[in-house]
């Protein structure tokens, strides 16, 4: 059992491996290990007792019972441990398997940190493996294309500059039919809120921009969106291992907010982007914290509710369940606020999944796994059978999850397992239930 027995053909990985030599592999691995890692990796490598407790943590492992190669320790054993033991002297075929495992069989969700008795962060180890894969040019095709888009357009979906503002104006026009006088203020200097999104929103989830604008309008928020690059807060480069472009993206994001002298950044309902902005990308740039306060949509909606700025005409019919996005719950502790917002919006019970909140299972799309594209769809769908069981056990129709990746991942799980459940963003429900101007 192991990654070599389940290799999947991918044009990006194949291309990268075809250009490798043993010398290049060794040189690159040694350079990363010596130049970019230190006591943290060494401590993890030397203190893992192979106790196996992490096996209970990982949705991949739980979805493949009896196969230790899916456990966090098993994944490290097949990747970083080999690199360290062999001091980088591994062959291209090994790199292929290592890359496939690191990019598609670990969501970097950090659930295993909670169950490890000595707190080993396997996600950090797998991120370092990905960094090595990036430096070797071995990344899945679709993820790498996303990274190329980031580098070339400052957004993840090749959205051109005119398409961005044109989409905003289109949504503004549409929304004005329903909300007379509604504006999506562009480049409004000094606004309280700079609202940023991820590229799928202008590309094909434009209703989320419409809904955000409607909520801002009805809540009387002083807000703006940038007219130029920096608007996309997402970051697949953080996950591909291209930290230089990750830093470039986060710099553009923060500096566009700083230029407008806004007070805070509010991010749409996305989890991974939040991780990039509040934890990873900002720190690569040398900031200990984010240079402009960053508030996730969950926290923002919670604030609006506390301030009485969201008024409901009706409640959404429950019961519902909640998918806790890893990066805003395990990463930021927003689980209670997410439930308070949900209770405000929903008539009926929240049927919890178990485990839940900071111990929740990942959707299996996060960590860039869904961005590895069609070749690996079944890896994450079948690798999260445990999530399907969790969802089914709730017996509810509606899943609320404030994260794009969770939507993508659960959508595929729902269809694959024929669960017949609906997915909602918080903004879907707020928009549906809030008071609106009379027609």
């Amino acid at each position: 059992m192991g990654i070599t027995e389940r290799l999947i053909e991918d044009a990006g990985l194949r291309r990268g491996v075809s250009l490798l030599t043993p010398e290049k592999i060794e040189k690159t691995i040694v350079a990363v290990l010596q130049g970019e890692t230190g006591a943290r990796l060494k401590t993890y490598a030397e203190t893992c007792m192979r106790c196996g407790m992490c096996a209970e943590a990982c949705h991949f492992a739980l979805s493949h019972p009896g196969d230790p190669s899916y456990t966090p320790a098993g994944k490290v054993h097949q990747t970083m441990s080999v690199l360290l033991d062999k001091k980088g002297r591994v062959d291209p075929d090994f790199i292929y398997g290592m890359a496939q495992l690191a990019y598609t069989e670990c969501n970097l969700c950090r659930r295993c940190v909670h169950l490890c008795p000595i707190g080993i962060d396997t996600a950090y180890i797998m991120s370092t493996v990905r960094r090595i894969c990036h430096k070797l040019g071995c990344t899945p095709q679709y993820m790498q294309d996303t990274a190329h888009s980031h580098a070339s357009t400052f957004n993840q979906m090749w959205v051109k500059d005119d398409e961005w503002t044109d989409s905003l104006m289109w949504q503004e026009d549409e929304a004005r039919e329903e909300f007379p006088g509604l504006r999506i203020p562009l480049d409004k200097e000094g606004a309280d809120i700079y609202y940023s999104v991820i590229a799928p929103e202008p590309k094909f989830r434009t209703q989320l921009i419409y809904q955000a604008a409607a909520i801002m309008h009805m809540a009387g928020v002083d807000w703006t969106m940038p007219a130029q690059t920096g608007w996309d807060n997402s970051d697949m480069c953080m996950f591909s291992g291209d930290f230089e472009v990750m830093g470039r993206l986060k710099r553009q994001h923060f500096e566009s907010a700083q230029k407008l002298k806004v007070k805070r950044i509010v991010m749409g309902e996305c989890g991974h982007a939040f991780r990039s902005v509040y934890d990873v990308g900002n720190r690569w740039l040398g900031w200990r914290w984010h240079p402009v306060p960053v508030i996730h949509a969950v926290e923002f909606y919670w604030e609006l509710i506390q301030e009485g700025k969201i008024k409901l005409a009706k409640k959404f019919p429950g019961p519902v369940t909640i998918q806790d996005p890893c990066n805003i719950v395990r990463g930021r502790g927003l689980q209670q606020k997410l439930r308070e917002v949900t209770r405000f919006l929903v008539e009926g019970d929240i049927i919890e999944m178990h485990p839940n909140m900071e111990h929740n299972f990942c959707c299996a799309a996060g960590g860039g796994v869904i961005n590895c594209g069609p070749p690996f769809k079944n890896v994450r769908v079948e690798g999260n059978a445990v999530k399907a069981e969790q969802l089914k056990a709730t017996g509810v129709k509606t899943i609320i999850t404030p994260c794009h990746n969770c939507h993508g991942g659960l959508h595929d799980i729902i269809h694959h397992h024929k669960l017949g459940m609906d997915l909602k963003f918080l903004s879907d429900i707020i928009y549906e239930c809030m008071e609106k101007p009379e027609a």
């Binding site: 294309d145 504006r183 000094g190 130029q228 830093g247 007070k263 900031w287 914290w289 240079p291 594209g373």
Partner: protein, 419 residues
């Protein structure tokens, strides 16, 4: 009215507009913009019957448009907005639309004097720039990161020179991006190009380039430096020598290189936003001597004071004054001048303005929702609903303060010694 030497610098206050009013035929009036000389206040206005126009000192433009956005005053005091007419986009300047129109237009930029106005355009799915309405002769699959030379005679942008098939890694790696100057592409392709910048004469262009996923460098007029770096940031031309100075990352630390030679040893956790005096003798940059601690270094030597975030660096023409802003968590803003913190902590501060002959620094600041200016460390004794960035007279003895006091637009000329 332009240049500033022709503005009215008589000390005192004038009420330019007694009250901001929303005419009955307006559905709403958008944010106000002050002309550089402080003689006009303008806002875009949505008309009750549909469409948009603009109010300038309370007077509506004669023309109306289907849409209008991105209002900006040019340095020579013309009020511009991007407008849509009959489904096509163009620029309206003081209410008159350019004759040319495009499928889309955005990103208005001005020459230093304001006589040339440039914008990005998309026409038939091709991209480029237009200057005073005249598009580049050659348009491209994509064009972004536009830049206009100071004199407005040249424009440049990063352009995509070949199409990419979906998820086409091979062609991306071959390099399909370059820089077009006045519509003419460099004879060199790169994997990526960022932030093209002109020299002060508008004759040469430097840009960041990436030749592989890992090799970053600077290209000048299409020719890459021989050296590769772990990362680079935007280059700047030394106004005196014409050399190119850029932050470079070596073994995880940042320094400065000039014409591919290290001039500040890479020892910083960050180094960016370098500025160079006109005589070329002083180079300042925002640096992080340690992770999480930012300051300014002048000629490689960091100031002793540091803050979690430093922004808005500027340098006097002759380099005798260097000023920046610092803050913690976007609050508690401080003004930093020549290595010292001014008294006063602000909710927000705007880029320091240095007088043309050096010696004076003025900063727009905000506290508890009220705005004012600080001049040479002293707070102007009035607060306003809003102020715009202050402007020094050419001789540096006067300061123009453009302010909204409640809903009256004021033009105040203060003597710097008494400000």
């Amino acid at each position: 009215m332009h240049p500033p030497s022709l503005w009215n610098w008589e000390p005192g206050q004038r009420v330019i507009l007694a009250a901001l009013k929303s005419p009955e035929d307006c559905a709403w009036v958008e944010e106000p913009h002050a002309s550089p000389d402080g003689e006009r206040l303008a806002s875009l206005a949505a008309l009750a019957e549909g469409g948009f126009s603009a109010l300038v000192n309370g007077e509506m433009w004669e023309n109306t448009f289907e849409k209008a956005w991105y209002p900006r005053f040019s340095p020579d005091g013309r009020f511009t907005a991007i407008v849509q007419q009959d489904g096509m986009w163009t620029l309206a300047v003081d209410g008159a639309a350019w004759e040319e129109s495009f499928d889309y237009l955005w990103g208005t930029e001005f020459s230093a004097e304001g006589d040339v106005i440039a914008a990005c355009i998309q026409s038939g799915g091709e991209y480029g720039l237009c200057l005073n309405g005249a598009p580049w002769e050659t348009l491209f699959e994509n064009a972004n990161q536009p830049v206009l030379s100071a004199d407005g005679q040249s424009s440049a942008a990063v352009v995509q020179l070949e199409s990419l098939k979906p998820a086409d890694l091979d062609d991306f790696h071959k390099g399909v991006f370059g820089v077009a100057v006045n519509g003419e592409a460099w004879d060199a392709n790169f994997m990526n190009v960022w932030t093209p910048t002109f020299d002060p004469q508008g004759k040469n262009v430097a840009a960041q380039v990436r030749t592989s996923l890992y090799d970053y460098s600077i290209a000048v007029n299409g020719k890459k430096w021989a050296g590769n770096y772990g990362c680079v940031w935007e280059p700047r031309f030394n106004p005196a020598s014409g050399t190119v100075v850029a932050p470079v990352r070596v073994k995880g630390a940042w320094g400065l290189a000039q014409d591919d030679q290290i001039i500040w040893e890479p020892r910083f956790a960050q180094c960016w936003h370098q500025v160079i005096s006109q005589d070329g003798k002083s180079i300042a940059a925002i640096v992080a001597p340690q992770f999480g601690q930012f300051t300014v270094a002048v000629n490689g030597k960091p100031w002793s004071v540091s803050l979690p975030v430093v922004t808005d660096l500027s340098i006097a023409r002759q380099g005798e004054v260097v000023a920046a802003l610092g803050c913690a968590d976007n609050r508690d803003w401080r003004v930093m001048v020549d290595g010292r913190l001014w008294d006063g902590v602000w909710d927000m501060a705007w880029a320091p303005v240095i007088s043309p002959s050096g010696g004076h620094v003025a900063v727009k600041v905000e506290r508890a929702g009220r705005q004012t200016v600080v001049v040479n460390g002293r707070v102007y004794p009035r607060e306003f609903t809003k102020v715009w960035e202050p402007i020094f007279s050419p001789d540096g003895t006067k300061l123009l303060i453009r302010a909204l006091d409640k809903d009256a637009f004021l033009r105040i000329v203060a003597e710097v010694g008494r400000a």
